[in-house]
């Protein structure tokens, strides 16, 4: 029969996945095989009875000693982070608090001591590898767990850690209601993570929505685990890494670079504007100043000339004829003083005019040319 091999311990073969079935933390004393015990006591009886040397008292002594040892085997210790659950003939009867406790010896009562206060950690998408040579931990990526499909059919690479512990008052559920609490937490975490990520587009996942995703996953996981009555409390969901997949991360960086380029180009243009516009303003101000100067100069000159004329006129008014003559002569003096002159007499004044018919030849061309060449001398 397929279950005939289940006789070993109460949870012998079925319990390999159970919380108490494996590892050094397995709780409660390992019960010795019953048949082995029986055989041993038979051997003892056989060896004692035929000799009969010890007599009835001896037998009694052995029995009492055996009873004492059996009775004392009921003491057990519950560590501070544990909670004891005592089972009488397999039925859960009471809790045992941390410290020294007693249960009726096997096979009447047994005890389980799950670690109820320890916070367990489950990583999805990566594993921490303890490196004994270094104190640091190394992270190994597991792409088949971490690559997820987003709602807009992109792929995103997410590593997440889930922290959980046995629910307060949920030890009974944790122990007796679910076959594989740890595996269930992990499966539910993966499923919840993908469900939540699947509902969102890639851009918010990569940028801002970390917090809200963590919250949604946390709530969804707790809800599912509560429907299983798993006795598990999810304490925290922590997203460790949210990246585009390695295959496309370069392109995402390129977008970042392009974004930076945008800002750079804009800044450069603004630098240009900030330099050129004030320069133009300076130039404008120079133009205005120049015009202002010209205006002032023009007005000042005009005023000066007008005033000079005014003065001369005042004098002139006093003696117009003389002053006019004087000015004329003085001017002519200055004019003629600086020029070459040729004076042609028109002949005798009595003959009247220059109608004498005699015209002197003047080599005007030469005369004009001469000072031109002379000017260079």
């Amino acid at each position: 029969m397929p279950w005939s091999n289940q006789g070993g311990g109460p949870w012998g073969s079925g319990g390999s996945k159970g919380p108490w079935g494996q590892g050094p933390q397995s709780s409660g004393p390992t019960p010795p095989d019953l048949e082995e015990l029986l055989r041993r006591s038979q051997d003892k009886l056989k060896s004692v009875l035929p000799g009969g040397n010890l007599g009835g008292r001896g037998v009694l002594l052995i029995v009492v000693a055996a009873l004492l040892v059996w009775g004392f085997s009921g003491f057990f210790k519950v560590e501070p982070d544990e909670l004891g659950a005592v089972l009488r003939f397999g039925k859960y009867t009471r809790d045992a608090q941390p410290g020294l406790n007693y249960h009726l010896p096997y096979p009447i009562e047994t005890v389980l001591t799950p670690k109820v206060t320890r916070v367990n950690r489950i990583d999805i998408g990566m594993r921490l590898i303890e490196d004994p040579r270094r104190t640091s931990q190394q992270i190994r990526d597991i792409p088949e767990e971490s690559l997820m499909l987003t709602g807009d059919e992109n792929i995103v690479d997410i590593d997440v850690s889930v922290f959980w512990q046995v629910k307060v008052g949920g030890a009974k559920d944790y122990l007796f209601n679910i076959q594989n609490p740890e595996g269930t937490v992990k499966a539910v975490a993966e499923s919840a993570m993908r469900e939540v990520v699947g509902r969102s587009d890639i851009q918010p996942i990569l940028t801002g929505a970390r917090q809200s995703i963590e919250t949604s996953v946390h709530e969804l996981m707790q809800k599912v685990l509560d429907t299983y009555q798993a006795g598990v409390q999810v304490t925290q969901v922590q997203m460790q890494k949210v990246d585009p997949p390695a295959q496309v991360i370069e392109s995402f960086r390129e977008v970042q670079a392009a974004r930076a380029d945008l800002v750079r180009l804009q800044n450069e243009a603004e630098t240009y504007a900030n330099q050129k516009v004030p320069e133009a303003k300076g130039q404008a101000s120079k133009i205005l100043q120049d015009a202002e100067a010209y205006k002032s100069q023009t007005v000042a000159e005009a005023t000066g000339q007008a005033s000079r004329f005014g003065k001369v006129y005042e004098e002139y008014k006093k003696a117009p004829q003389v002053t006019r003559q004087r000015i004329y002569l003085e001017t002519m003096e200055r004019v003629f003083g600086g020029t070459d002159k040729i004076i042609l007499d028109s002949g005798s004044s009595t003959q009247g005019g220059n109608n004498s018919g005699v015209v002197p030849i003047l080599p005007l061309n030469e005369m004009v040319r001469r000072p031109a060449t002379g000017g260079t001398q």
Binding site: F176, Q179, G183, A280, A306
Partner: protein
């Protein structure tokens, strides 16, 4: 010796009694149900944990787990209704609710797992095959999971099993489709990057153009103001001159002519051909200085 024989018999009896006693008792653990089978015939189901009795040697006990059990399904490829392929990795959690039926139909948890796995795969194909990929991934995941659960649950009832939950652990694209998605993501990002750069140069050009425009306007404005100002200056000059010279236009003409002669004819490159009968030479020949008739002409 007599005592020895009697003791021996007693011991043998005690051992037999112990064996019979032991085999007429059985314990049902907190996590299990017990099915008592008398010579192959199921007689009772014990659901309460604790110590129980049975007939020794004749009755045998079959234990059935009553916890929520795991079913981890291997990833299976499913074709969605829009012909897109998905690798779906689902798991189920179930409970044995009818130990007798379970024992009679499948017997062991391992056998149940393999039967359930088949049912689960079929239900997944059926349900997801009617939905599009978008529905599976984004819109309807939980509703689809609930439908798969219902279908598997209905079929698994024949094994005395209740399916507590079915959840899709992963629903991803097959590797070759993932590659296509990566390529698409790359091209999308490339487009985005190009757009950003183009936007950058557009904005830069806008800023430069505006600056250039501002500069032109500023200079033109200044020039306009400047010209106006110069004009004002000139107008002012004209006014001043008009005011000053208007007192005696005749004298002004004379005076200004004198100035003009002086500045116009002063240089040594001027060559004059003069007649001595001009007014300047009035006294040249005649100390009386009467103006000559010819010169007056």
């Amino acid at each position: 010796m007599k005592l020895g024989i009697a003791g021996g018999v007693l011991a043998v009896l005690a051992v037999i009694a112990a064996i019979v006693g032991y085999s007429s008792l059985f314990t049902v653990y907190q996590t299990r149900l017990a099915l008592v089978v008398r010579l192959g015939q199921p007689v009772k189901i014990v659901t309460e944990p604790g110590l129980n009795f049975k007939l020794p040697l004749i009755d045998s006990v079959i234990y059935v787990d009553k916890r929520i059990l795991d079913l981890e399904n291997a990833a299976a490829e499913v074709i969605a209704s829009d012909q897109k392929r998905l690798v779906v990795d689902a798991f189920a959690r179930y409970r044995i609710n009818n130990a007798l039926l379970f024992y009679q139909s499948v017997g062991t948890v391992d056998a149940a797992n393999s039967r359930l796995s088949t049912l689960l795969n079929a239900a997944l194909r059926r349900v997801l095959g009617e939905a599009t990929l978008t529905h599976v991934v984004r819109d309807d995941r939980s509703a689809l999971m609930a439908r798969v659960r219902e279908q598997v649950d209905r079929e698994a009832a024949a094994f005395g099993i209740t399916v507590v939950d079915v959840r899709i652990r992963r629903a991803d694209l097959p590797a070759e489709n993932s590659q296509a998605v990566f390529e698409r993501m790359k091209s999308e990002r490339k487009r985005e990057a190009t757009e950003f750069r183009a936007q950058g140069s557009q904005r830069a050009q806008e800023i430069r153009a505006r600056a250039d425009r501002d500069i032109t306007v500023i200079i033109a404005d200044a020039q306009s103001k400047g010209d106006t100002m110069r004009g004002e200056g000139e107008a002012e000059r004209n006014r001043i001159f008009a005011e000053a010279f208007g007192k005696d236009p005749d004298f002004f003409a004379f005076y200004r002519s004198m100035q003009a002669y002086e500045s116009g004819l002063r240089h040594s490159d001027t060559r004059m051909v003069l007649k001595p009968d001009s007014d300047f030479f009035r006294y040249f020949a005649d100390p009386a200085g009467r103006p000559r008739e010819d010169a007056k002409k």
